[in-house]
Amino acid sequence: MTKRSTRAFFVASTAVCALIFLALTIDTHRKIPALTNQDALDAMVVAGKDVWHRYNCINCHTLLGEGAYYAPDLTQIAAQRGAGYLHEFLKDPSRFYSEDRDRRLMPTLNLSDQEIAQVIAFLTWVSKIDTQGWPPRPILVKGSAVPGAVVGAPAPRPASSDPVELGRVAFSSTPPGCAACHSIAPGVNIVGPSLAGIATTAADRIRAANYHGQAKDAAGYIRESIVDPNAYVLTGPTFSAGGRSLMPGDYNQTLKPEQIDQIVAYLLTLK
């Protein structure tokens, strides 16, 4: 092999690769409008992109997984949190997170209401881009898709005496250990059925033909399924056997009546 032939190899292979790359770039231009909902790309979204750039968001956060790793990915944030929350958060992040507890805190950027609306429009548009299935599982800012997965976290303490809050804490405490079997994430069946949307499901169940319990409303159904799990049995390999629920049947004795009230109040919020 001579220098002449290696040079020819370099020139030819580079030219072929560059040509393929350019051809695919042209094709990408053709297909990108459909993949990114370009119809929805209005002046508001473009203004929001400018806000995104102006405040250097990319040097802490990732978007579409690209950026810096100091703060959470925001690809799906508009779909996860909604405009109302994001507006309040951007006004004052320190209301939601604490530097003492979380070690990091987003600076308050003093955005105008208009800039906030613009950047939310931009993030909403981004959340609808066809990302070829990425991320394969939702990336959460805080908490966990699986209750109890956050090991080592301090024992949950109720933030108020609100029954719903007390119920939330009781649900994830052991005893009674509800969260050991029931997730509140859709489709995540640990061993018992997921309780995502249980308030809505309960209202439907008591109207079903095969329901033989005493409950008249969703609250009644949830209470009944805690104190008498066999009143209505869900079939599933880990839910029941021989028509009997596998859930402990003694919560009527081990839980105080007010605790049951609180757990019911909490589960009723899962619509």
Binding site: F10, C17, F21, K49, Y70, R104, V146
Partner: protein, 455 residues
Amino acid sequence: MRYSSQRVAYWYFLVAVLLFGLQVAFGLLAVAKYLGPDPLRPWLPFDVVKAIHTNVLLVWLLTGFMGAAYYIVPEESRVDLYSVRLAYVQLVIWTAMGVAAVVSYLLRWTAGNKLLEQPYPLKIVIVVVMLMFLYNIGMTIRAGGRLTTTAGVLVAGLACTALLYLPALFEFQNYSLSIFYRWWTVHLWVEGVWEMIQGGILAYLLIRLSGVDREVLEKWLYVVVALTFISGILGTAHHYYWIGVPHYWLPLGAVFSALEPLSFFGMAVYAYYAMRRSGLTHPNRMALHWTIGSAIFSALGAGILGLAHTWPAVNRWTHGTMITPMHGHMAFFGAYVMIVLGVITYAMPGLTGRSEESRETSAGFLAFWLQVAGMFGMTMAFAAAGVTQTYLERILGIGYIETQLKMQVHFLMLAGTGALFAIGVALFVWDFCVLAGRPVPVARLDGLAPARPLA
């Protein structure tokens, strides 16, 4: 050193080395913020520190590349530099641009596009400076009437660097499209034309340090550069997996990214072959360390650690986690930092009019080993953090904040090894600025014979 005009390289190297120190200082600041809480947050938040850390890196590496070209091209073309004055004017404007960029980030004036944060007027200055540089180098080669393959590859790499910066001047309304073209600059720089620059400098250093026949080394240089472009151009696809572009970029990225280590291994084998032939006899042992180090570290950092997460089925879980800086830090250090420090170390005895032996210092060697050890430890810390983050946050679905709290121990390790690295950098700066001596006056130079005969 054979031509007095090569002396401009010293001042380019000085600016590069000082900015290297600044870059690493901001790196330490960044890891302190990862440990948190951050008392500087109201005045100097993380985003500003990160932008300065990455931008100063790009500026100082380019300064080093340009200095290397000003040192290498006159020697290769056997003629004085076309215009020494133009080279100095260029350096002043370039340095002013770098300083202005840092100040503008501190004042929160930014284009906010990752790695291309430079405000628009500064982007124009970058283009102008690159044109000044290419004109000066082009006229030098023309005056000499001799263009070696080594100089040709180096200069072509720098010319393509300027060309590929042009997409950064355009504004795209569609964010996906703006990311698409951002990688034309960033990826095709670091996994394309900068490898050409690395290859050119490596070839030059190996010709000088090993004494292997130029024809043989230049023949294989073409093969190394060909491998770079075969894998690198279509390897851009690994940045296009999840950004809203068609699906065919996934299989394309998988295959061509898997080929990317070849070019880096090619360079490592290339250096090994040259050193085997010569038996490592060159008296500038510090330059030998950096040169061989570059070939090995870029094979590890850019080759293997890049490959570790470019396969789409892996990347869908690791994308946007600490796995990326694991690869990024070692790749940049191995491929570009070490080769620039190598060429600086090689050129210093000539620039300062000292013999190779008297130039050798223990501080210089310690700088090498501390940087190597520090960067190795940092890479391990990033890797541990990245694997933790991938499993907890991405696979188990635990929240970002809880996961980051679980990664604190890795950030501590990062801070420790980063401090080790920073000491190595400080020693290099001290060695360069204090121990190495000043460049010799022009009058004395022209009578000096080159330290070694030209190959």
